[in-house]
Subunit: 675 residues, 2 copies
Amino acid sequence: MTEQDPLVIFTPSGKRGHVPRGTTVLDAARRLGVDLDSVCGGRGICSKCQVAPGIGHFSKHGLTVSEDALSPINAVEQRYDEKRGLKPGRRLGCQAQILSDVVLDIPPESQLHRQVVRKAAEARAVAMDPATRLFLVDVAAPDMHAPTGDLERLNAALAAQWGLPEARASLPVLARLQEVLRAGHWQVTVALHQPHTGGEAEILDLWPGFFEGPLYGLAIDLGSTTIAAHLTDLATGAVVASSGVMNPQIRFGEDLMSRVSYAMMNPGGAGEMTTAVHGALDELARAITQEAGIDPRTMVEAVLVCNPVMHHLALGIDPVELGQAPFALATSGAVEITAGALGIRSINPSGRAYVLPLIAGHVGADAAAVALSEAPEKSEDLVLIVDVGTNAEIILGDRTRVLACSSPTGPAFEGAQISSGQRAAPGAIERVRIDPATKEPRFRVIGCDLWSDEEGFEAALGKGGVTGICGSGIIEAVAEMRMAGLLDSAGLIGTAEQTGSARCVPEGRTQAYVLHDGSAAGGPVITVTQGDIRAIQLAKSALYAGARLLMDRMGVTRVDRVVLAGAFGAHISPLHAMVLGMIPDVPLDHVRSAGNAAGTGARIALCSRAARRLIEDNVRRIEKVETAVEPKFQEHFVAANALPHASDPFPELEKTVNLPEVSFNTAVSTRRRRR
Amino acid sequence: MTEQDPLVIFTPSGKRGHVPRGTTVLDAARRLGVDLDSVCGGRGICSKCQVAPGIGHFSKHGLTVSEDALSPINAVEQRYDEKRGLKPGRRLGCQAQILSDVVLDIPPESQLHRQVVRKAAEARAVAMDPATRLFLVDVAAPDMHAPTGDLERLNAALAAQWGLPEARASLPVLARLQEVLRAGHWQVTVALHQPHTGGEAEILDLWPGFFEGPLYGLAIDLGSTTIAAHLTDLATGAVVASSGVMNPQIRFGEDLMSRVSYAMMNPGGAGEMTTAVHGALDELARAITQEAGIDPRTMVEAVLVCNPVMHHLALGIDPVELGQAPFALATSGAVEITAGALGIRSINPSGRAYVLPLIAGHVGADAAAVALSEAPEKSEDLVLIVDVGTNAEIILGDRTRVLACSSPTGPAFEGAQISSGQRAAPGAIERVRIDPATKEPRFRVIGCDLWSDEEGFEAALGKGGVTGICGSGIIEAVAEMRMAGLLDSAGLIGTAEQTGSARCVPEGRTQAYVLHDGSAAGGPVITVTQGDIRAIQLAKSALYAGARLLMDRMGVTRVDRVVLAGAFGAHISPLHAMVLGMIPDVPLDHVRSAGNAAGTGARIALCSRAARRLIEDNVRRIEKVETAVEPKFQEHFVAANALPHASDPFPELEKTVNLPEVSFNTAVSTRRRRR
């Protein structure tokens, strides 16, 4: 290549170089290391290598491109355009030859490693690099004078035409190989799995001739209560369908520890729970492929994230050791198995499954997925990431160090163990506001677009009415009660006399606040009881104490920002969380919801082998803190009981709200003395 | 280490060096690269590291060894001696410390890589190097402050205590891991599989505390007719039990081609045959472990050798392509799978199976095993190796080049398609001698120790009597008939007048020779018919033509020696084979039977990972010749019809016997003219 050869400039990468006249665009891209996709390897079949040539003067590059910089549209392109349509201005990179200086734009959909899962806030992205991809190859026909197996000739073709390493094939694939090769007249499309570890590649499936795909993967977030899955296009990274089911293990125990107990008390109990979750995973896979209308055979990968108990049960490991100190995991590393080993049959028979690594006995693959999604190890400032479930997983870190722990918040934040509590479902109060002057509440209910004090609310509510209060609702209610002076900093509800609100009513020896009285219409009376307040206090103290423990270990008393992960994080109001002292004091606009970060992490691991390597490496480096054996935890826990806190200052919160300085202690102390 | 440190000399290796005073013998052996076994890693448990110290003057080494050259017998050795007995003069290498200059003999049973499968004739041996071995390790207990999985800590222990790479564990092994580690108080014995390819190691099984083993492997020779298996101790290489069953596929077709036809004609037919052979393999494994009285769990490896059709059917691959040119194999490389994938369940649940590579569409893994056992690529002189079955596999080679082909001999050599033919079983004539003067025969029958002309033969024969003639019997009969002048070089049997023997009787339009008339006792009349002679001629012509084709390709007209492999080779007489012209002319004492060379090859592959690498490499390098498409083959075939040959000289044979120059052509030509 000399200066006399045409100059080719690729955008957006800016990569440039001289190539001999007549070089195809695809070859030029390969020589210059430009990311241009191709499944058919330049046979003019797959159209993945489309480029948009520019014509005219490019002052930025100091280059004038003539109309005949590329060879004229040829018969292959013409046929493709007629049959499947080529966007105006587009050329097939494997057909168009470079005749003179040219600027070529590679549209995003033609980039093999196109970026997905863009996170605006972080200015980082994940490049497509799935473990399983399609490759079209022409295989040499058998030759009696050089007898080798069909598999060996297929491997030779993959090596020669794609530079791929030798791949093995399972016996069922091997059993189909000869027929498929002959049906395709020695041209086949191979779904090749190349492990992120650099281990042996495997031919997962093959199709006669050109198979366009796409291939799909399933990102599964296996929670104690619900199982969510996202069907993801492995070429584009796009989510094409999402689905969820209840975790059928609930019948063996609501929370994790009751399931561990079930396994300990019942011989074969762990196996029953494994069978149950396998059934649900398969059902989920079946439903989602059906919903998306895709052939299950094209779904070739699954990624699973979950907490350690769910992890062990899904893998058929008795979780008994996780029920007692030292909470020893059977394995903490990432697990690579067949999808079939997870009970998933509605998938390609050779489909693979990847389970993210666990961080510790209480900090699972779901937390690892959150860490993958939120990337604290890349953060310039100190970020606290909180994923609240029955246990809260807490991650604190920045570029220098990342710490993680789990804290036993219990299920109060999910609406359980709350007198009028319920899961987040239609009829549940999810938002609450209390007027500080009148102490009157207004609220919103899931499934209804209006606030309770808006016109037409009753009609919009429908006949189901108000049924209870969910996690985000109870948190807002408690925080609003505190802001309205119905609750003191110790968490005591005042009497009607003390608060001047008739909604404060006696409930046994304590007070309760009536949020909604639906009894006239035959519905429930929804109150926030003193017991509810205590449950929320216990949960929030555990969460805060966990965060403080990590901050101690990090040697800081403040964090720069807070990320709330999970469905819970998506629905909670940062202000209310901070009024309760759930999270350390930061400017309110430094609190962000990351949505389903665990699910996002699973999806990233599905799309990127580099991400799998990254999280495995990061998990090894994360410093684990076990709250159960840290003496300081109990101290932090007690101090965090007050609303927002007994001793830690909340200056940022105070800039926004003035919490009334009320105290209803006396009344209670009096009662206690009476006992 | 200085000259002042004690000098230690190990025999028989002769390795020597100075080690610091107080070094244990085991450590000294490791430092000096001496092959000393240990399963427990120096914990004084396994006793595999026993050595025999010499005392007195060793003039060869110029060394005088004092009685206190080693530390006195310690408590561990004393206890071991009391409990299990230590041979006189033996010390445990991990306990005895070197205090002054010493000569230490390592007995064969203490060598990890002890030699097995010694072949006196070849002066070569195979060193033990099985893929799966036992390792005792002490695993760190879990630590909440550094939470890693039990598997990760087990791997760390294997790395630290044995220098082993990271190993994976299947889910069933992972499910048992936690319980076993705790039962063994964090000491476990691991059965670790390290693939010969350098791929990822796998923990196949584990036992609490010290498990002595031994581990076993099963070498399987899967023939079209019979399946033979040898249970082999993976520590010593010794065969501890052998067993065989009929191949149940026989009911789908006697020979290979009829089974391929069955698969072609019957939908699901290949699957039926796969199921049948899987059942037989499992039954064989079950029977052999039961016979040997071992726990199937200790059987961790299987090696399979077989012809290509058996190979494909065993792996669940339809053999249809093997029934027609170009005889394309689905895969020709070695196959590594679970033993379960071959239907073998009476084995460790994680048990592995290794299938040797195939050489060509007609030259199978059994031929590869013969090549592994006979090692033509190491031969100084030119060796022709012949393995006769329904097809003959023929290998010709020396250090410079190895060629292989298969020749369609048909089943005549196995007694099939012979008028009185039968399998080699009690009642079958296996040896024949004909007096050249009287033309009277005498013979031996399988299951009887006497020749037919010896006193007491009838009584010794028992009531079953003579039932037929087997492969080796018919070959000897035909060769003896030729030597006695009953048969001319064209293969025609003379009439009673022409031969002067009343045993030559008309049979249709041709003659037959009455070998045995059992009709008086109600038994069969056993004759050698002209049809039988023709069948043997066709078979031997094919065999000889194949050998000649390889000789042509090699550019030679003579070979230096002939090796007859297989059960057939073990029973055939070299003289008789050469009279028939089955094999090229060589001095008779240069014809050797290799016994069950395929089975030996399977056993070598079971004991040695290096052997697996070697045969995979060799098979790639063997030059394959396809007889079906070689025009010269037909020419050689026709020329080889005569006994011994129409044109090739047999000078070595002529040194031993003078074949009568008779010709019975006229009679036959006359008859032919009459047709």
